[in-house]
């Protein structure tokens, strides 16, 4: 849960410019919502690498891993457990 919260805060802060009134579900696709573009996703990657101390490999850059708050959180947890 904490991971999801931190990711949500980052997304709201950086892509919704702090506007908490914009509806954003944990499963909502960033792509379909249209507020993250190809460089935005790189910012998200830098954030999770730094915040959670994981290394996102080039192979990991897939929508299955990154395209919603839930997917990102699951991905972070997976990566952490692999590293442990």
């Amino acid at each position: 849960m904490e991971v999801e919260m931190l990711i949500r805060d980052f997304i709201v802060e950086n892509f919704l410019f702090g506007n908490v009134d914009v509806p954003l579900g944990d499963e909502d696709s960033f792509l379909q919502k249209g507020f993250i573009d190809s460089t935005g996703i790189l910012e998200v990657v830098s954030f999770i690498e730094e915040k959670f101390g994981i290394k996102v490999e080039d192979d990991d850059l897939l929508p299955e891993n990154l395209d919603s708050i839930r997917r990102l959180a699951d991905f972070v947890v997976r990566k952490r457990s692999l590293a442990a």
Partner: protein
Amino acid sequence: MPVSDFLSDSAARFPEKDFLVWRNRRITYGSMSRKVDALAAGLADEGLVAGERVGICMGNSTEYVMAYFGIMKAGAVVVPVSEQSTGRGLAAILNNCQASMLLIDRVVLQTLLEVLPGIPSLRRVIIAVKGDVEGEGAEERIQDLPPGPSGFRFLRQILTEGKGKVVPCITREPDLAMICYTSGTTGSPKGVMLTHRNLMANADSIVEYLRLTSHDKMMVVLPFYYSYGNSLLTTHAKVGGTLHIGRNFVYPNSVLELMVREGVTGFAGVPSTFAILLNRSAIRKYAFPMLRYLTQAGGAMSPRSAEELHRILPGTDIFIMYGQTEASARLTYLAPADLRRKAGSIGKPIPGVRITIRREDFTPCAPREVGEIVAEGDNVMKGYWGDQEGTARTLRSDGLHTGDMAWMDEEGYIYIVGRQSEFIKSGGHRIGAKEIEEAILELPTVHEVAVVGEEDEILGESITAYVVAKERSGIDPHAIQRCCRDRLPVYMVPRKVVFMDELPKTISGKIRKNELRRVEG
């Protein structure tokens, strides 16, 4: 040849060949040509007459392509608009060109409804549902639409009503084919008028220097509503090639996998596309035996990136190209053989285009002397829609004044050094700083603002707004960014907002933007 004939001619030659591949669906030339005929007939039944302007506000899709050729087949003028536009931006464009009809993706409907009462010229809105071209669109009834003004139809209905009918093509080459809106220096976007002859001349030229044939398969990640993406559509339709349609480049590995699987032969991008490929993708882990060429427009390629791409893709040619919407897309290209020898150059004019570098008094520059790029050719626009003054400033007796400053070497290779006009080039978008400044100035707490492009490794330039607030309390960077987001597409929102006590100015009061670019380094 009218542009809609590109499709019908290829359909006559290759009826069973794939024209479009989109989300694992394949549309043949024959099938698309029949759909386009049906749409053109359906639009005519709806009262569309030749010369009227019809907007397309859709992401890249088979429906977009059908709308594009269908509108032209009916003799009308295509006005493409980004599906990321705000309602305000969409209304401004449709009002400027007095569009009578609009085709939209279902997802755009809500945005449109907010501004629809303010677009009096619009008498029909046609809604595309995913799968319309393939005949698998969701079954929606007209009464499912939200309440709003009358005049809504589903694309499906228009296609059904037009099925089996053919509209006689009365279009001539000098007729208007498209109006492409592009950022202007004065704030509001300008409507670049392109004729069928303009598009045909450019398509012929590109086909010639890229040696495109019906065997070519292009991976499209650029939006069709920009002239670069549009040129991918026209050239491949002309030669009978195949377009693999993508909507964006957010997940490069998904695109790379598709390219390998489908044996794609061509890939087109802007500098940020290749920066992402080289820095944040798994490109080194794939082999692309079928990839014949890459094209990059929107900026020169650094020697380091070119070398790296050569190393990763040893059998693939790299073409650097330059152009602008006012030239239907393309003006120059640097041949692959010259990439190392003439690093940093945008090459020489494409076939059918003449280019001179001119001084402020319009006399030609000497070799290596910096001046403005001036172009002539059948691909040069007719002018700006409803803007005689802007047209007269840009289209002069000696040709199209591009606003780009450059020099030419003794062998005729051109090197761009900067822009005369105030544009920011960010991630493939040409953005007018003025448009962003005007949006920010709508905040009552803002006294003054200057927007500049600052060097960015991936984007080329990223947008920074320097703001002087009337009072520092009650305003923060987020307020500025939110204000922009409400009024502008997401790619125009400044990445960075810097508050200042005052902006640096010349004695005459002009803001020194170069000095601002140095503030943050």
